[in-house]
Amino acid sequence: MGFELILFYVFAAIAIGTTLLVVVQSNPVYSVLLLIGSFIGLAGLYVLLQAPFVAVIQIIVYAGAIMVLFLFVVMLLNAPREELVTSGILESPATRTIGAMLAIAFAAELAWALNRSSTLAWTVTDVTRRPFSVPEIGRRLFQDYAFAFEATSILILVAMIGAITLAGRQLTEGARLKSRPAGDASRTDGGMAEGGRAEGGRAQL
């Protein structure tokens, strides 16, 4: 059992453990933090897979940007602990069990697929040992995949505009009146942070 394998198990344990906690955790803030932990574990795995670049990108974009966004929203909404509301038919045990069963069935299928498929015994051969240098990846990304790249950039732009138009709007009077007293502090901050982001957004556009 080589050093690399040990590392693999360590990172895998981190990833699975944190992810599980993410799902069972009832406090969204914790969920977010745990998810960051899982990302870092995955980043470690990427490094094991000779993809350090992706690993760092994963940390920068996912952990550094997307998750901050989540954290922002959680704080902004001063997210309440999950209420145990029972909202009509959907909360009937039947549907819950259906969901659970589907999930299990899916897992079963995955397992089946894994031990059915023949590609699994692959290990790294000398051909594939060589890691990919960043310039190499960059070249492919900007030459072979240039169109997809441009397309995604446009997608990002659109998403940005959409996010700003959706969330950048100031609270309407009605919403203000309905606002709960508990979270007024966070709401004011929310307004400010929102203003900050909206402004940033405009500057970007």
């Binding site: 080589g2 699975i16 969204p28 989540f70 999950e82 995955l110 894994l114 997608l155 969330a167 606002s179």
Partner: protein, 100 residues
């Protein structure tokens, strides 16, 4: 020496966890987080395949996935905020105005 199926199994497990989260959680934000988990599981298998097939496509596709995930998170969270302003809750089952 880790083999491909180590990674694939791991990715499958993560994916299932994410799926369960999406289906079972009653908090939109957590649902979105579970979605990210699923995406990451897929990324992992992409990179693993890329590594073991000796092709850089795996990594490149992961970039695109990450980009899309960023867009998805931005819009999704914006929607969550907009919805929260109306119904003051994060329970997805509360957003029923679109019932046909």
């Amino acid at each position: 020496m880790a083999e491909l199926n180590h990674y694939l199994v791991l990715s499958g497990v993560l994916f299932t966890i994410g799926t369960a989260g999406v289906l079972l959680r009653r908090n939109v934000i957590t649902v979105l987080l579970s979605l990210e988990v699923m995406l990451n599981a897929v990324n992992l298998s992409f990179i693993a395949f890329g590594r073991f097939l000796g092709s850089s496509d795996g990594q490149i596709i992961v970039f695109f996935v990450i980009t899309v995930a960023a867009a998805e998170a931005a819009v999704g969270l914006a929607l969550v905020i907009a919805l929260f302003r109306h119904v003051e809750t994060l329970n997805p089952d509360a957003f029923r105005q679109l019932r046909g």
